[in-house]
């Protein structure tokens, strides 16, 4: 495997020669990884290959879409990337020398930069608006957070959707099917039947595995819809850590109960200003709620019958 001499040799070789050698090393290593995977070892699915020319890995800051694609392709896209960073340390030989050259291979770099640039410009505009409005302190902070919600952690891809900003017939959920989103924030949305169906379809897509935060601010849910969504979350093995239904003043208790099966991985529960939430929702299923379950089930059967007719 690699050593300091290898690095020097790599620098002296023509670029095409180096690329060809790297490709061969990567392909060989990937074959080995596949064999080890079959043996049941706990290998990371993140494409990371150590070659005689250094350690290759997808950049942590790279676009998550391509990360997911890489997982599906079993790292096959690594060699298609570009070299953006190389750190050489020719201090000594030995096992550690495999780390001599680090090459990060981010995919869709232009797209990532475009996203960052867009966010920076948006932030600048918000700050300008704040100056115009002479906002200070908590008010200013809330303004920034509202305009640019902070996702669960830095760099997490998230999707913000405000129903007041787009045509009524539009909805955000098909987007979930096209790219991995970890944080979904939806505001002012009435969860109609067709929209729920689209959300469920999106939740069944491979990208939805990334989803860990669901924010439905000031949204309306029916019980059947909520329970269907929750059931899909469980079936798709999506681990929801944050459920935010705050300011959903019309959220009925039985609708919230519909989410119950999806709560097992929950770390944060926000029911701020959900005025219909009471002890029966949080502690046990009261007779009233069971009655709602029955009503909802009957309603569902009727709807199904109506569809058949």
């Amino acid at each position: 495997m690699g050593n300091a001499a290898g690095v020097v040799a790599a620098e002296d070789q023509p670029t095409s020669e180096v690329v060809r050698t790297i490709k061969e090393d990567v392909q060989r290593q990937m074959k080995e990884l596949k064999i080890e995977g079959k043996l049941g070892s706990t290998l990371s699915t993140k494409p990371e290959v150590v070659t005689s020319h250094g350690k290759f890995s997808a950049s942590e800051g790279a676009d998550q879409t391509s990360d997911a694609e890489a997982k599906q392709n079993d790292g096959g896209g690594v060699e298609k990337g570009e070299r953006v960073d190389a750190i050489a340390d020719d201090s000594d030989d030995g096992p550690a020398s495999q780390e001599l050259v680090t090459i990060k291979v981010p995919r869709n770099l232009a797209k990532l930069l475009e996203t960052i640039q867009g966010r920076v410009q948006g932030l600048e505009k918000t700050i300008e608006d704040m100056h115009t409005a002479q906002m200070l302190g908590d008010e200013a902070i809330e303004c920034i957070l509202d305009a640019h919600p902070v996702p669960g952690q830095q760099g997490v891809p998230y999707f913000v959707y405000d129903a007041l900003d787009v045509p009524v017939d539009d909805d955000p959920f098909p987007a979930l099917s096209h790219r991995p989103i970890q944080v979904l924030r939806v505001r002012n949305f009435i969860m109609q039947e067709d929209r729920t169906a689209r959300l469920i379809t999106a939740l069944k897509s491979p990208f939805s595995k990334e989803l860990c935060e669901l924010h439905f601010l000031n949204c309306e849910w029916e019980f059947v819809q909520a329970s269907d969504v929750a059931a899909t979350i469980v079936e798709s093995e999506i681990q929801i850590a944050v459920l935010n239904l705050s300011r959903s003043q019309k959220l009925r208790a039985e609708s919230f109960v519909g989410f119950k099966v999806a709560l097992s991985h929950l770390r944060t529960l926000n029911l701020e200003y959900c005025q219909h939430i009471d002890d029966s929702c949080l502690v046990c299923e009261s007779l009233l709620l069971r009655w709602h379950f029955v009503c909802a089930a009957v309603n569902r059967i009727c709807l199904f019958g109506h569809t058949l007719l």
Partner: protein, 142 residues
């Protein structure tokens, strides 16, 4: 319901859920041992909920109970004895809280950084004068 399904809650925000009482808090605390951020502004909880929090939540960092009319000095004293890591407390508009409750917090919760105590008409100068080395922000509004 939530209490039986959730076993790892760390943040619970029930602000404005005025139908939520001590019963919910006590049930949730039985299954969620890692709660460190509890917000119950304008809910119907009382000292019993704070005592339950104090008995099980030694890692409680944030407690918001603004506008909870059932909160008294007794509840705050329970918190002050068990929750030394508390850093953020909001007891605004808890009409029954007086100087003694805040003095207990100031002396027991040595990590406290933020205290909101707006519209506490029973609180006198002693509550503010008490030696509270770490407090960075105090919101006093009348």
């Amino acid at each position: 319901m939530v209490a039986s399904q959730c076993r790892g809650l760390r943040v619970l925000n029930l602000n404005g859920c005025f139908k939520v009482t001590d019963k919910s808090v006590q049930a949730l605390l039985k299954t969620n041992q890692q709660l460190h951020d509890a917000r119950f502004n304008q809910s119907s909880i009382s000292d019993s909920a704070l005592e339950a929090l104090a008995n099980t939540r030694h890692n409680l960092r944030r407690l918001h109970v603004a506008g909870c009319k059932g909160i008294t000095n007794k509840g705050l004293e329970a918190i002050s004895k068990q929750c030394a890591k508390l850093i953020d407390l909001d007891v605004s508009r808890c009409d029954k809280v007086s100087t003694a409750g805040l003095v207990a917090i100031a002396t027991g919760c040595t990590s406290i950084l933020h205290v909101r105590m707006a519209e506490l008409y029973l609180v006198k100068d002693e509550a503010v004068k008490v030696r509270c080395y770490n407090a960075q922000h105090m919101f006093l509004r009348w």
